[in-house]
Symmetry: C2
Subunit: 316 residues, 2 copies
């Protein structure tokens, strides 16, 4: 397939589709723009969970069990941190640690997150461009019934337990899109919204200055992260519920209202097809749950075919 694509991605689900897109496109034709709202400092290290998940996945190094972290990982540093009474709630593998140490070293030397990401994806043999949404720190804060929690506190330490009320992206007002982000969007023939969490994975990207506008100027295809009323992975469905919205492909489409040209939904949700069409969006019904590499490649090929057919449509 020859199509210039910009994909917006969060962590595991987004990374899988991005990997499928990479398998179908020439490297120069794909740019993956990744959420950095989950980034945080931990044990003195700059940690970028979504960037790392995307890089590891595209490098073929991701842990196939968890989707995050690395395959063949060891945990000797973390175990020792435990013995020393340090913080171990965030799972840092020995190989993974090297990425955080090297990124932190480069950033302390004054390099941008973009530059460190570029160095990392090259070192790990990833051909496609991977851009952080911004080089400026943006930090997702989950407003919960128990008060505000930083994203990783909410997600890892509290295991998404506290009921959410809203989300804030600290720093978003002054965050500039990373170099190449707006250009990749404006030169793309289609933008793919990967099946990532709308609230905390893609909303931060769309909230970066100029990004929503640049996305809305292109044909946009979203792959629903909600299948059969549940999130394939993570707290997206729980968040919809807690915000008073029944989770569905339609809820996702309404979340992205004003942006979508087409929506890809799972066969389980074919009942929603008519409703989605009534919103004015084109719909592709297929198998969207990616269990294998072949699932990723096949879904991405269908998404690209669909996106390519939408080139002249207006967003709903």
């Amino acid at each position: 397939m020859a199509l210039r694509v910009a994909a917006l991605a969060g962590g595991v689900g987004g990374a899988k589709l991005a990997d499928g897109l990479a398998a179908n496109l020439a490297p120069a034709d794909l740019t993956v723009i990744v959420n950095t709202g989950d980034d945080f400092e931990h044990l003195g290290l700059v940690i970028c969970p979504d960037l790392d998940t995307v890089v590891y996945t595209l490098a073929g190094m991701a842990n196939p069990e968890t989707g995050w972290g690395r395959a063949g990982e060891t945990w000797n540093c973390l175990a020792t941190l435990g013995i020393l009474g340090s913080e171990t709630w965030f799972r840092l593998g020995d190989k993974d640690l090297a990425v955080h140490i090297e990124r932190t070293r480069r950033i302390r030397l004054g390099q941008s997150l973009s530059d460190t990401t570029e160095a990392m994806r090259q070192a790990l043999g990833v051909g496609v461009r991977i851009l952080p949404m911004s080089d400026d720190p943006v930090r997702t804060v989950v407003e919960t019934e128990e008060g505000p929690l930083s994203f990783q506190e909410y997600f890892v330490a509290r295991r998404c337990g506290p009921k959410v009320r809203s989300f804030r992206f600290e720093g978003i007002d002054t965050a500039r899109p990373a170099p190449g982000v707006l250009h990749a969007l404006s030169e793309s023939e289609a933008v793919v919204l990967c099946p990532s969490n709308p609230w905390v994975s893609l909303d931060p990207i769309l909230a970066v200055r100029g990004v929503r506008q640049a996305v809305s100027a292109r044909p946009v295809v979203a792959v629903s992260p909600i299948v059969g009323g549940r999130a394939v992975k993570g707290p997206a469905a729980k968040m919809f519920h807690e915000l008073g919205i029944p989770p569905s492909a339609r809820a996702v489409a309404e979340h992205y209202r004003g942006l979508l040209t087409g929506m890809v939904i799972d066969r389980q949700d074919r009942g929603e097809e008519a409703g989605l069409r009534s919103l004015g969006t084109r719909v592709l019904v297929t198998d969207t749950v990616m269990r294998t590499s072949e699932d990723r490649r096949r879904l991405a090929a269908e998404v690209l075919e669909f996106a390519s057919s939408l080139a002249e449509r207006r967003p709903v």
Copy 2:
């Protein structure tokens, strides 16, 4: 043996004797005061090689092959740092890394090096007190024919290759002895100078304000790190040579002139015994090379017996 002892130690050799002393004394009767001139920042981490070697050795966790680092270590982080094009000249094992990460975290939170060392030795089950010579940074600089090198550059990166001219301990003028150092010395019944490098392991400790004076007020026994004209480990003999001094037990005794009450030398060096006595120091001739745990325990027992017999002697 009941004797209150303060031992001054650098890395591997010092740690071994300290371990032997710990096997012979009640924990409350031994304080090990450790060189921090080798400390450095690397990859954003505060690394204290001698403190770690002493703690690991006394915890029974040291790598028996190398003397430094941990037994049963893995190297997955370091290997990945290599793939990422980062610095790998300083060998950081996965377990060892945890100590640097946790120490760095605590120091960034404002804790002293003493406090972090105390927490670490307790967590790792070491009973005796281990004190850094100072909580203030002191950095050994090796002046070489190729110019000044930081200690770790000289020692690890350059493998002690460049010819030495002199040594400087940056920060020594303002470094205060760590809490407990002067007290441990003044209440000791004997001070043991472990078989560590005189130039770069024990001189920095002795150069900390008040330490030399406090040491010289006690009976002092040095165990020669030079055996048969060679250093048991490390560059001590090479340094003596390059500074124009033939390496020998006598050269060590002269290096510590004004401090020594007694000197422990190896059987190989029994020919030096008379010369040493002529300097006015008492001499114990025994097997000083520590290959096994039993060697450490036995040598330490002899050193303690010897030290205890010197209580009333004046230093030479």
